[in-house]
């Protein structure tokens, strides 16, 4: 998750001086909005439920992520980076990674940011950074790392809160269609899964009702820097992620959503870059996606 909105660049407030500060604050161009929202979610979750292993581990993930962003941006791009993206990647790692050890938080954050700079094609990274980091940690270090699962409790209010907050953010960022496509496909495939396994439909749908899963739906699969261009293509890719997830789930893969995005995301981006409008110069892609032209 995380870089979802972080990669949306700032727009100078002078763009429309007649718009009030409130509108500007809730504008999709306010790149401090997503970090603020995810911080609110983190604080609410921690103060109400104690979701984090500890404050210091999450802070370590954030600090590592931001430090890596600064170092790599200076080294590779030669510029001082805006740290909103790295902040959200760090906070994502802090929330999603569950480990009794300290080192996975630093390593996962570092890998996430490193992947963004190291694995690039035609000037773009292919993986959502925190998805890459979390998936790699889950796959390579299962004895030390698990993903967030039951730590947000099972009550209705966190679910409703994240649905509302997430929907607002995503709608403002004009990416709600991605979430909707994914959720609709997931619900449909849940029914198929329940038919195949003989389990109740409610048990197949259960993950979607957990707050952790909603974070994945709202923030990870919508990352503008690692999603394809075009409204229809984005819906298709979201649906394909759900299909890949179903295949993984039918094979008993516990962290299916992360791995599904890990597998489908870069392939889709690769195809998109190879044949899609992203082949065109950056400026030409503004039509393809209203936010893309402003992406860093």
């Amino acid at each position: 998750m995380s870089t979802a909105v972080a990669s949306i660049p700032s727009e100078t407030p002078t763009a429309d001086n007649r718009v009030g500060w409130l509108s500007r604050f809730f504008s999709p161009n306010n790149r401090y909005l997503p970090p603020l929202f995810i911080t609110c979610i983190l604080l609410t979750g921690q103060l109400e439920f104690g979701i984090l292993e500890s404050w210091d581990r999450t802070l370590l993930a954030i600090a590592t992520s931001m430090a890596m962003e600064i170092i790599l941006s200076r080294l590779i791009v030669g510029k001082w980076p805006h740290l909103a993206s790295a902040y959200i990647s760090g906070i994502s790692v802090g929330i999603l990674v569950r480990s009794p050890f300290i080192w996975p938080y630093a390593l996962c954050a570092a890998l996430s940011i490193l992947s963004k700079y190291a694995i690039r094609w035609r000037g773009r990274h292919l993986w959502n950074p925190s998805n890459f980091g979390v998936s790699a940690m889950l796959f390579l270090y299962p004895a030390a790392v698990a993903s967030l699962s039951i730590q947000w409790g099972n009550t209705i209010w966190p679910m409703v809160t994240i649905w509302c907050v997430g929907s607002i953010i995503i709608y403002r960022l004009r990416r709600f269609h991605i979430c909707a496509s994914y959720v609709a496909t997931f619900l449909l495939l849940s029914w198929i899964r329940s038919e195949v396994t003989g389990n109740t439909w409610l048990s197949a749908v259960a993950p979607l009702t957990g707050p952790m899963y909603q974070l994945f739906v709202f923030f990870m699969i919508t990352d503008p820097r690692s999603t394809v261009s075009g409204w229809r293509s984005q819906c298709l890719v979201a649906a394909l992620v759900a299909v890949a997830e179903m295949v993984l789930r039918l094979n008993g893969v516990i962290d299916a959503p992360y791995y599904a995005l890990f597998l489908v995301g870069p392939v889709a981006n690769f195809v998109d870059l190879a044949i899609g409008p992203r082949n065109a110069p950056q400026g030409a892609r503004a039509d393809a996606h209203p936010l893309a032209s402003r992406a860093k």
Partner: protein, 594 residues
């Protein structure tokens, strides 16, 4: 450097970041193995499984549930194997009591014949037939001399009707449940004896697990599961029953402030703040642990819950064990809580709560730092100096449900447990287990304390290789030879008895305390042994671990030291007794001074 070169360098860093730790961890594991071998040489001991050879032939049978819960019956019926140690006839040899759990199955009281063999006398003495249909199933037992007549009495807690038996001077037991006024039904997860008000009479604490209105044998609803897997508070109520001294008990739970309805699986009563009064630590499944401090109030004693401010009740996990030990020889009791750790699924890690100092109520989890964090789906654990080197070791049992070797239930478990409470609290929504394992076939851990703040698992080297679903473990010197033997109760599996052979030259001392002004069992007494520049604190407790009770006597390993500087006993009555030169390599029988 060109941009492509930079990217190549970064790719190299990424690969190093991905796989470097793997290589490091592998090298570290090899180094740990070396250190373990060195530890074995240094802390020599061996364990030999001798249950059959000792005349113990007991295989636990699991509870039978209402057919409506059949889809996840192995998971729900996953408790009931317990073990408690008692010298019920005061012949100087520790005996073993174990519970069974299927309808009609019998509990066993193995009398220690003193020659390495045991004889089951439960039926003969009237404490066997406690799983009669309609009365619930046994899940644990805890002994104490509640009437101070010099003989240990038996309390059996159940998912059902609790039972109290008076010990008739070792010749038999009389059921006194009704006379005592015990509750009709408690879906109990744990129980212990403590003298919470210091009147010299032992009171009884019972912790509910399942909600009070649930009847698992014959239920009208399938909504019996917790409403959350980390924040559940719809478990059973707690009971503190005050010993009135006339064979009856009075429910004082609410007036002393014990209002928890969490899903308690283990309790230990010990004096954590050094004020001379027993406090209560509850290890709760599906939630945070709770620490109740026993304080004086305007209308008598009160318990105040300080779990969060003390640090032990902040992060919710799946508490299944509560045992205490002075792991650093610092004169302070640490608390060990077991949880769930499954690679890549749920890595909660067990907790070793170490106080900041003697009497301090601020705790830090040092399980990772001390190497006792990852066990599996852990249940019972006990501290004891297994190799008599002067440092407390740790024996931990693991494993939840061992079913078919192929496939497991982890995927389905993780799929549903993240769901909304309305889904997970109803058993009918849960995918059927179909005989599959859930954290099955897990190994026990025998963690030896290196004395340097680290523990090393030597279970495989010592021959503790069985993978039954471990529940309760108890430590006791069954041969009166100064070494702690290990008794393990496995769910749906055989009772295991590990005879401990300690390397010659390791000295020890044991104390058997008898209270006078204090309760006769001396529960709550603290003993501090100072020797060779170090000090170790132990406390006489009733329940310890999960569904277990160790021997009543206290055992201290002394390493190669041949003398003791000082022994200080603080009796529950508040009297302090000093022993200047107690005999080592011997059992010391100490009676509370008048």
């Amino acid at each position: 450097m060109s941009r492509a070169s930079k990217q190549a360098v970064l790719a190299a860093f990424l690969i190093a970041g991905l796989f470097g730790p793997l290589l490091y961890l592998r090298a570290k594991r090899r180094a740990d193995d070396e250190r373990q071998r060195a530890a074995m040489d240094r802390y020599g001991m061996s364990l030999e499984e001798v249950a059959e050879a000792s005349g113990i032939h007991m295989v636990h049978s699991i509870p039978v549930l209402d057919p409506k819960l059949q889809n996840i019956a192995p998971m729900i019926a996953s408790m009931g194997a317990s073990v408690s140690i008692v010298d019920y006839d005061n012949d100087g040899w520790n005996d073993i009591y174990v519970t069974n759990s299927s309808p009609g199955s019998k509990n066993h009281l193995y009398r220690n014949l003193g020659n390495g063999r045991f004889e089951d006398v439960a039926e003969q003495l009237g404490v066997a037939d406690l799983n009669k249909p309609g009365t619930g199933v046994c899940v644990g037992a805890v002994w104490a001399d509640y009437d101070n007549d010099g003989y240990e009495d038996l309390f059996v807690y159940k998912w059902g009707k609790p039972e109290l038996f008076h010990n008739d001077h070792g010749h038999g037991f009389t059921r006194v449940t009704d006379k005592a006024g015990l509750p009709d039904w408690i879906n109990a997860g744990a129980a212990t004896w403590l003298d919470y008000d210091g009147d010299g009479k032992l009171d009884l604490f019972i912790a509910g697990y399942w909600p009070d209105d649930v009847r698992l044998e014959s239920t009208t609803t399938t909504k019996v599961m917790p409403n959350s897997f980390e924040y559940a508070n719809n478990g059973g109520r707690k009971w503190l029953l005050r010993n009135m001294g006339d064979g009856t008990f009075k429910d004082v739970t609410h007036e002393v402030g014990l209002d928890s309805t969490r899903w308690t699986l283990a309790v230990i009563a010990a004096d954590f703040n050094n004020d001379g009064m027993p406090d209560l630590f509850l290890a709760n499944d599906y939630g945070v642990s709770q620490l109740y401090i026993n304080e004086a109030g305007p209308n008598g004693r009160r318990f105040r819950e300080i779990g969060e401010e003390s640090g032990v009740g902040h992060s919710p996990k799946s508490g299944m064990n509560a045992s205490v030990g002075d792991v650093l020889n610092s004169g302070a009791l640490s608390i060990y809580v077991s949880n769930i750790s499954e690679d890549g699924v749920l890595v909660q890690g067990n907790n070793l709560w170490v106080p900041q100092g003697p009497g301090s109520l601020k705790y830090t989890n040092l399980a990772s730092a001390m190497g006792v964090e990852l066990g599996g789906w852990s249940f019972g654990a006990q501290f004891g100096d297994l190799n008599n080197d002067g440092f407390l070791d740790l024996f931990l049992v693991n494993g939840y449900v061992s079913g078919k070797p192929e496939g497991n239930y982890w995927y389905d478990f993780s799929e549903i447990t993240g769901g909304n409470s309305s889904i997970i609290s109803d058993a009918k929504n849960w995918p059927a287990m179909k005989g599959r394992s859930l954290a099955g076939y897990q190994k026990k851990r025998v963690w030896l304390n290196g004395g340097d703040g680290r523990f090393f698992d030597v279970s495989q080297a010592l021959g503790v290789t069985e993978t039954y679903d471990g529940r309760a473990v108890a430590l006791a010197d069954l041969e009166n030879n100064g070494s702690l033997d290990v008794i393990v109760a496995n769910q749906g599996g055989p009772l295991m008895l590990y005879r401990n052979h300690v390397k010659p030259g390791r000295n020890w001392i044991e104390f058997e305390l008898k209270g006078r002004a204090s309760n006769r069992s001396a529960i709550g007494a603290q003993v501090r042994v100072k020797w060779n520049g170090q000090e170790q604190l132990q406390e006489v407790v009733a329940a310890s671990g999960y569904a277990a009770e160790n021997e009543r006597r206290l055992h201290f390993g002394l390493g190669e030291a041949r003398s003791i500087d000082k022994v200080t006993i603080r009796w529950p009555s508040g009297r302090v007794q000093t022993l200047e030169s107690p005999q080592i390599d011997a059992m010391n029988h100490i009676e509370e001074p008048q």
